[in-house]
């Protein structure tokens, strides 16, 4: 079973990496870029089991390790 976790800065939280990307793209002649935000994706390979349980467990992983919930949002997707 596979799980994908998307972690990204909460809206309103400063994102210096994203700002650096946007500024670099503008300098590389991509003036159509208005804003960029950078997050991370964690792909997990899990032992097979119940999808609902997996979703709960991966949510626990996010709360405990994968995301800093003070400044980051996360989204969990299970691919059976």
């Amino acid at each position: 079973m596979k799980a994908v976790v998307y972690v990204r800065p909460r809206s309103g939280v400063l994102d210096p990496q994203g700002q650096a990307v946007a500024s670099a793209l503008k300098h590389l002649d991509f003036p159509e870029v208005i804003e960029a935000r950078q997050g991370k994706t964690i792909e997990l390979v899990l032992e097979d089991g119940d999808v609902e349980t997996a979703k709960e467990r991966v949510t626990q992983m996010c709360e405990q390790l994968l995301a800093n919930t003070v400044i980051e949002d996360y989204q969990v997707k299970i691919e059976p």
Copy 2:
């Protein structure tokens, strides 16, 4: 218009961040984790325009800046 770029280590390329995540999760009592791979997500806000052109332009951004194509794969998704 929004574009989302997923960048992740090519299969076969060592991913020390992913290995650290997998090992930390096992120590946090998530033994069901077999493997983890970590990539990044860049969300771009673009000036409105043609979807096909946007996809080409964002692919150029990936080749020039967002991905290191020697060791990373990327995927572009345009959300009109």
